[in-house]
Symmetry: C2
Amino acid sequence: MTGTPAEAVLNQLGPILGDAISASRGVREQYSRSESYRIPALPDLVARPSTTAEVQAIVRACASSGLPVVAFGAGTSLEGNAATIMGGLCVDLSRMDQILAINAADMDVRVQPGIRRKTLNAQLRDTGLFFPIDPGADASIGGMTSTRGSGTMAVRYGTMRDNVLSLEVVLSDGRAIRTSSRARKSAAGYDLTRLFVGAEGTLGIITEVTLRLHPQPEAIAAAVCPFPSLAAAVEAAVFVMQAAIPVARIELLDDVMMRGVNRHSGLSYPEAPTLFIEFHGTPAGVAEQAEVVEGLAREAGAEGLRWATEPEARSRLWHARDNTLYAGRALRPGCEAIITDICVPISALAECLEATKRDADESGLLAPIVGHVGDGNFHMLILVDPADAEEIERGRAFHARMVRRAISLDGTCTGEHGIGTGKMVYLEEELGDAVDVMRLVKQALDPRGVMNPGKIFTLAGGGAA
Amino acid sequence: MTGTPAEAVLNQLGPILGDAISASRGVREQYSRSESYRIPALPDLVARPSTTAEVQAIVRACASSGLPVVAFGAGTSLEGNAATIMGGLCVDLSRMDQILAINAADMDVRVQPGIRRKTLNAQLRDTGLFFPIDPGADASIGGMTSTRGSGTMAVRYGTMRDNVLSLEVVLSDGRAIRTSSRARKSAAGYDLTRLFVGAEGTLGIITEVTLRLHPQPEAIAAAVCPFPSLAAAVEAAVFVMQAAIPVARIELLDDVMMRGVNRHSGLSYPEAPTLFIEFHGTPAGVAEQAEVVEGLAREAGAEGLRWATEPEARSRLWHARDNTLYAGRALRPGCEAIITDICVPISALAECLEATKRDADESGLLAPIVGHVGDGNFHMLILVDPADAEEIERGRAFHARMVRRAISLDGTCTGEHGIGTGKMVYLEEELGDAVDVMRLVKQALDPRGVMNPGKIFTLAGGGAA
């Protein structure tokens, strides 16, 4: 009578969700791939709930039918994190995009997961507060939480790990829990908030996020600083971190990426390894920081900083930085980019960057670099011709060496993109038996295995090939 | 043949540990109570391992015999967190007190769990770095990690949650895992580091801790500032937080506690609600912060700040603050102190403090206050006569109202002391079904229930009465 699990779920949810659930091929195909998906992954159903109660009904129906249920935010993740690789129901949370409460005195805000970070900041503008986490893309807050996202301002303001105060989560049995109070700190039992941050929807579906906010800085200054070599640029960044200068951002673009930025954004920066730096604080504090950083940059070999203090000039500068994905691709029209994401202790950063760049050259690959160097985190865009199977294979082999190099330097296979499907094998290599602890937690919280299955690790162990 | 589980474990471990394991009553009694223990709790055995391998052998023996195994650091916890309330083996980690690696360039350090924070800082002095977390007591790093401790500098540097980079943990099956790489940020799977931070030894025994360090500030200034009322002092603290002044500490002592401080330390501060404030930064930065804070304090009704810039004067000031447990008790010789620990959103802090103080007065209780007010966290010492059962009961009832008031204000039943045995019933009230998630995690990681049983929650649910 009910047929497949998907049909059973559709029958059960149709009366509750009406046209907010669909099995039509046209709708499902909108969710079947992203820029990052390695394989098209067509969901059986797509639901667009408006309330936590609807999410609970969806999860209950899927759990009872054994149908995978996969949360979907803005589709900007980069490791296939939200792909329905085993089919199932895709829960598009974009209708749950409201700000529920702004507590300006406490500098926090409670939001639904579907709100995007730029919309949030636009709505916060008059409060004097802002939400600093900036992964580049206009991601949803729920998605950023689920992948433990970070981006350019993590060096000053931390990552999603540090900026989520509390969550409402729908568990695999359909119950909704709140992971903590709204107090700034707590020693009340296990840190469930941090357990769900970065779990990529494999332990539950996030339906509310309470975020820390920060005062809009009184003064902001930004600067661009080219260096004679990659090593010199990294050295300057390390000096800045060790001097505890509270820079708001310190981003590295290599010479190849600067060429792409100039080409894509019609700019004329020197095509040399370059730091993009931003300072937040009081006018006097910003001036003091800027002076110290300029001194450190000169010590590392730079000629000087080019300033952008006016909002428009700053906006142009960061727009150029935020578009490095497109700028990188502009270096080779028609190419696809294999996007990488590793993070190492900062003492190993120069060695890691130089070995990686040398390897790219030796492999005959065009691969511009952009990095959140204050955290030891960087990305390469490995540009490959989608029609050239040999080159794609060469790019993949290079990527594997790059990740293993980071792990061998006591770094991590992903600084901010998450494991998804793309990094499973490396997670095992990085953490060994600790991945078994993740498995135990997963099996305890999702005994039916319906929450975003096939991500982060395989239940059987050993990772994906 | 083997008799009780404790005898079986002793037979098994004796050949491995030699005189590092003991069943003698004299030794066991040293671990049977602390200042905070509500009931004496005598372990059956005490072991003092020197290596991770010895901890693994201990845990394996206990798990196979079903004997509780409870990690013990410096014995400074305040909610019975390390009490062997169900008997079992007490693992005293004080012999594992070595610094294993200082990575000065990365500003991190890897230590064994038994090292105490003051020893660590003494050994770091020449590196230009320090470990800022200061809970007052000279606690062990393992203990501070397990209770998610924090203290006076959390307002600037965060809590143990924010300052632990990675852990080595012995699981209940005897395996040792490393929870993460040494990279500053990572999106590599579940946040196991944060899962064990604050788990109070109920999920595993921590055998190594990698900590973030911070540069020793170039300039430090400290000040004491009396206020005409508690509300005025809290208002000033809230102004400071909202102005995003990066104070290193901002501590509130009420008029009663100031009387105790004067009496205990032979000082002559005004006996009024008082903020103790410390600034870290460059000389210019500290001067700027101090000027802004002085202005905000005056705006809230203070006459001005009394400065202590010389190291000796600062040391006297913070020594007085750190001894508030003794200073409070000095107000009533022979008394015992019921120590409390709640944390609320800062917007609710004035209301919470004033209602609590009014309640203490109406209950006829002498109860000095000390608070990490920048975080919304404060403690009361409820001073009771240990021979007066009625007064103890009155103190306990007052404590219950205080905790419930914090929860009703969207706060937490513990900001930094942990749940232990003392806060189990309140954890259920605060988090409801979320405690079931903690139970599921506990049962998955410790199926035999041997790791510090009877703490944080009961496995059956409902909390302890």
